[in-house]
C-alpha cells in the first residue's frame, strides 16, 4: 500500500489549522527575532574596560613616576579601567569581594627603588576568577604589558622588538561579537520554533481525541508525520530567512558566503528538528509533558553544540556526544557560510549528516506511531 496515503489530506488540514491560528504563528515567528535583537544588543563577548582597583605603595600619594608609567600602559590596552585608587591591602580586597572591581593591582613600596637598582620589581595582579573569559583576558594582557615593560628596560635603545608576533583575526577582523555569536544563535532559535511546534501539534490531537479518529482512517503513519511537518517546515524556512535578514541589516553581520546556499543547507537542520518534535510527540501525552521532553533535547543542544563552549575544549566523551547533536552541524554550516565564506564542497558532509539523522528519526517515529495504533 502507498506509504504516503493521506498525505495531501493532512497537509490540507494542517494549513487550515495554521491559518486559523495565525496569531500563534505570528508569535512564534516574531519571538526569535525579538530574542535575537535583545541578545544581539546586550551581549558583547569581547572583554574591554575591566573595572580595576589599584593600591600603589611606591610613592607617598599617587605612587612613583615608574608606577604611573606602568599604570598608563595598562590603561592604554583598553582592557583595564581603573575605577579606584585604594590605600590598604584590606581595601583592595574588599573592592574585589564586593564586585566593585574584577582586577586588583598592587604595586609594592619598593617598586621604583628595585627598578633603579636593576633588581626584579614585583607587581601583584589579583584577578577575580569567577568569569573565566574576563580573568583570561586580564591575565594575558597584564603579562604582556609586564613583558614589554621588562624588554623596554633591558634593551633601552631597541626601536623594535626582535620578534614581533602579530595575531590577526581572519574571518572576523573587527572581532565583533555579534559576528561570532549570531550565526550560532540562529541555530538555537530555529531549534525552539521547530521542535516545540511540531511536538505540540501532535500532542494537541492526542489531548482532544482527534488523533484517535484519524488513526481509524487508512492514513499511513509516514504520511501523517510528513503532513504534520510540512507547515512547520515552511514556517521554519521563513523564520530562517527573517533571521538572516535581521542579522545582515540590523546587526550588520557580513555574510561572506552565499545566503541561498545557507538557507538550502539549513533545510536539513529544520528537517531534523521537526522529526525530533514528532518523536517527542509519540512519547508525550500532554502539552506539558511535550514541553519537558522537548526541553531535554533543546538544552543539551545549546551546551554541546559549540554555541557557548568550543567543542574542541570539551572532554572526549562530550565531544563524542556533540556529534549526535544536530545543532553542532548547523553551527558549523552557519559559521562556515557567514564568517568563512565556505561553499558546498566544505559543507556537504554536515548537511548530509543532518539529513541522515532526520531520516533515521523519522523512521523511528513512524515505528513508534505504528505500534501506538496496533
Amino acid at each position: 500500500m502507498n506509504p504516503l496515503r493521506g498525505l495531501t489530506a493532512i497537509v490540507y488540514k494542517e494549513f487550515l489549522h495554521a491559518r486559523r491560528d495565525s496569531m500563534a504563528i505570528m508569535f512564534s515567528l516574531l519571538m526569535p527575532l525579538i530574542q535575537m535583537t535583545i541578545l544581539g544588543a546586550a551581549i558583547d563577548t569581547n572583554v574591554r574596560q575591566i573595572p580595576t582597583v589599584v593600591f600603589d605603595q611606591s610613592g607617598p600619594i599617587s605612587g612613583s613616576a615608574d608606577s604611573r608609567v606602568l599604570l598608563d600602559r595598562l590603561r592604554n590596552t583598553d582592557t583595564f579601567h581603573i575605577v579606584q585608587l585604594v590605600h590598604s591591602d584590606q581595601e583592595l580586597n574588599e573592592a574585589l569581594v564586593a564586585g566593585q572591581a574584577r582586577v586588583g593591582i598592587k604595586i609594592p613600596y619598593d617598586y621604583a627603588r628595585r627598578l633603579l637598582a636593576g633588581d626584579t620589581a614585583q607587581v601583584l595582579v589579583l584577578v577575580d576568577g569567577s568569569d573565566s573569559s574576563v580573568a583570561g583576558q586580564a591575565i594575558n594582557v597584564a603579562a604582556q604589558v609586564g613583558l614589554r615593560e621588562s624588554l623596554a628596560r633591558m634593551i633601552p635603545n631597541a626601536r623594535a622588538l626582535v620578534v614581533d608576533v602579530r595575531p590577526k583575526m581572519m574571518f572576523n577582523p573587527d572581532s565583533r561579537s555579534p559576528n561570532f555569536f549570531l550565526p550560532g544563535l540562529m541555530a538555537v532559535l530555529l531549534l525552539f520554533v521547530t521542535t516545540m511546534l511540531t511536538a505540540f501539534s501532535v500532542v494537541r490531537e492526542k489531548e482532544r481525541g482527534t488523533l484517535e479518529q484519524l488513526l481509524v482512517t487508512p492514513v499511513r503513519p509516514l504520511a501523517l508525520m510528513l503532513g504534520k511537518i510540512t507547515p512547520y517546515f515552511v514556517l521554519g524556512v521563513t523564520e530562517m530567512c527573517a533571521i538572516l535578514f535581521f542579522m545582515r541589516y540590523l546587526f550588520q553581520v557580513p555574510i561572506h558566503g552565499s545566503p541561498v546556499l545557507l538557507v538550502a543547507l539549513s533545510t536539513c537542520y529544520l528537517f531534523v528538528n521537526l522529526t525530533i518534535g514528532i518523536l517527542v510527540s509519540t512519547k508525550a501525552n500532554s502539552q506539558t509533558e511535550a514541553l519537558q521532553l522537548a526541553m531535554m533535547t533543546v538544552l543539551p543542544s545549546i551546551f554541546l553544540s559549540g554555541y557557548i563552549f568550543p567543542r574542541d575544549n570539551m572532554p572526549l566523551i562530550f565531544q563524542g556526544i556533540s556529534y549526535l547533536v544536530p545543532a553542532s552541524y548547523m553551527i558549523n554550516i552557519t559559521r562556515g557560510v557567514i564568517l568563512r565564506g565556505a561553499d558546498l564542497p566544505e559543507l556537504w558532509p554536515d548537511a548530509l549528516a543532518l539529513f541522515m539523522m532526520g531520516v533515521c528519526i523519522l523512521l523511528l517515529a513512524a515505528r513508534r506511531f505504528t505500534r501506538m495504533i496496533v
Binding site: 495531501t8 481509524v216 496496533v374
Partner: protein
C-alpha cells in the same frame, strides 16, 4: 461472510480485565445493538475492532479480515464515530467533511457528490460554514456521523451516536440507519436507550466485560432467566403507585417490582395470583384500575440479567 466475528476477545489494563472473552457474530446488514452499563467495556470492544487498541487475547475478523494481521485493510472498510466528539473544532463543517473525504482518497467530483449527499442526509446544510467547535452538541453528533459515513464504509461503529440529540434528530438518524442497513451496510451501535435497543435486529448485553445475553430482542424477552417457568409478569395500574410499590416489595411471592410511569411492573411467583394481589391492594385502601399480563420489556430483561449476574458474582466472591 459474517461482517464481524470475535473469538474470546479479551483486553486487560494492568490487572483489570475490561473485556473478558467476548464472542460475537454480526451478520451483514444487521443493526447490532451493543448494550451494557457504564464502564462495562463497550467502547473498549469497539476500539479493538477498529484496530485502535491491541487485543490482549482472542481474535477478531472484520469483513473476513483478521484485525490483528491486517489492521490497515480493515480501516478502509470501516467507519467509526467515537463516543467523544473528535473532529476539528477550528475547521468548519465543510472543511471537516472535505478533510475526511480526502483522507479516504476521495477527490474531485466524487468527493463533491459524497459531501452533498452527506449534508442532505444529516440536514446540516445551514451550518456548513460554521466552525465545528461552535456547533451545539446534537449538530456535532450529526457532523461526526456524516464524517464517519462519508467514504461509504461497509461496517460502521457508532459509539452512543444519539447521546444528547433531540427526539426528531434521533428518529431521523434511525431512519437513516434502517435505510442504509437495507443496502447491506452493517451497524454496530452502542446505546443506553431502550427504545433504540428495540429497533436493533440483534442485541448483545455486556456486563463487567462479559457478554451475558445475545440474541434478537424477541429471543431476549423469552429468556427463561428473565421470566422463570414458575413466574408471571403483570402490569398493575393503581392510584397510589409509590405506596403500592412499598407494600408489594414486602409481600412474599413478589419477586420484583418497579414503577413504569403510572403503573407497576411486577414479577409474581405462581403461588400469588393476580386476583389475590389485586384484592390485597384494595384491602389496603387502594384503587386498582387494571391488572394485565405482560411480556418483559427490554429494560426488564437487562435489569433482571444484571441483578442475577450481580448475585452470582457476590456468591462467587463470598467464600473468598
Amino acid at each position: 461472510m459474517t461482517a464481524i466475528r470475535t473469538t474470546d476477545l479479551t483486553r486487560r489494563f494492568g490487572t483489570f480485565t475490561a473485556v473478558d472473552g467476548v464472542n460475537l457474530t454480526v451478520e451483514p446488514g444487521e443493526i447490532f445493538g451493543f448494550l451494557g452499563p457504564n464502564g462495562s467495556g463497550k467502547t473498549t470492544v469497539i476500539k479493538m475492532l477498529c484496530g485502535l487498541l491491541p487485543m490482549s487475547e482472542g481474535n477478531a475478523w472484520v469483513d473476513g479480515i483478521d484485525v490483528r494481521q491486517h489492521p490497515d485493510l480493515v480501516r478502509t472498510r470501516i467507519g467509526y464515530m467515537s463516543q467523544k466528539f473528535a473532529l476539528y473544532d477550528d475547521l468548519t463543517v465543510l472543511e471537516n467533511l472535505r478533510f475526511y473525504g480526502k483522507v479516504y482518497g476521495l477527490h474531485g467530483p466524487t468527493l463533491h457528490t459524497r459531501i452533498e449527499s452527506m449534508i442532505e442526509s444529516s440536514h446540516i446544510g445551514p451550518y456548513v460554514t460554521r466552525f465545528a467547535g461552535r456547533l451545539s452538541g446534537g449538530w456535532k453528533q450529526r457532523l461526526a456521523l456524516a464524517c464517519a459515513m462519508l467514504h461509504d464504509p461497509l461496517i460502521l461503529y457508532l459509539d452512543e451516536p444519539t447521546a444528547g440529540i433531540d427526539p426528531v434528530a434521533r428518529r431521523q438518524l434511525w431512519d437513516l440507519l434502517f435505510q442504509l442497513s437495507g443496502r447491506g451496510i452493517t451497524f454496530f451501535v452502542t446505546t443506553h436507550y431502550m427504545d433504540e435497543a428495540e429497533r436493533c435486529s440483534h442485541l448483545a448485553y455486556i456486563y463487567h466485560g462479559k457478554v451475558i445475553a445475545d440474541g434478537t430482542p424477541t429471543a431476549l424477552r423469552a429468556l427463561p432467566d428473565v421470566t422463570p417457568p414458575d413466574t408471571h409478569r403483570y402490569e398493575i395500574t393503581v392510584d397510589e403507585t409509590t405506596q403500592a410499590l412499598a407494600l408489594l416489595r414486602t409481600w412474599p411471592g413478589v419477586r420484583s417490582a418497579t414503577i413504569f410511569g403510572r403503573s407497576i411492573h411486577t414479577l409474581l411467583e405462581q403461588s400469588l395470583s393476580a386476583e389475590a394481589l389485586s384484592t390485597r391492594l384494595q384491602e389496603a385502601g387502594m384503587v386498582v384500575e387494571e391488572v394485565r399480563s405482560l411480556l418483559p420489556s427490554l429494560e426488564d430483561v437487562f435489569v433482571e440479567l444484571t441483578l442475577r449476574r450481580q448475585r452470582e458474582l457476590e456468591a462467587l466472591g463470598a467464600p473468598k
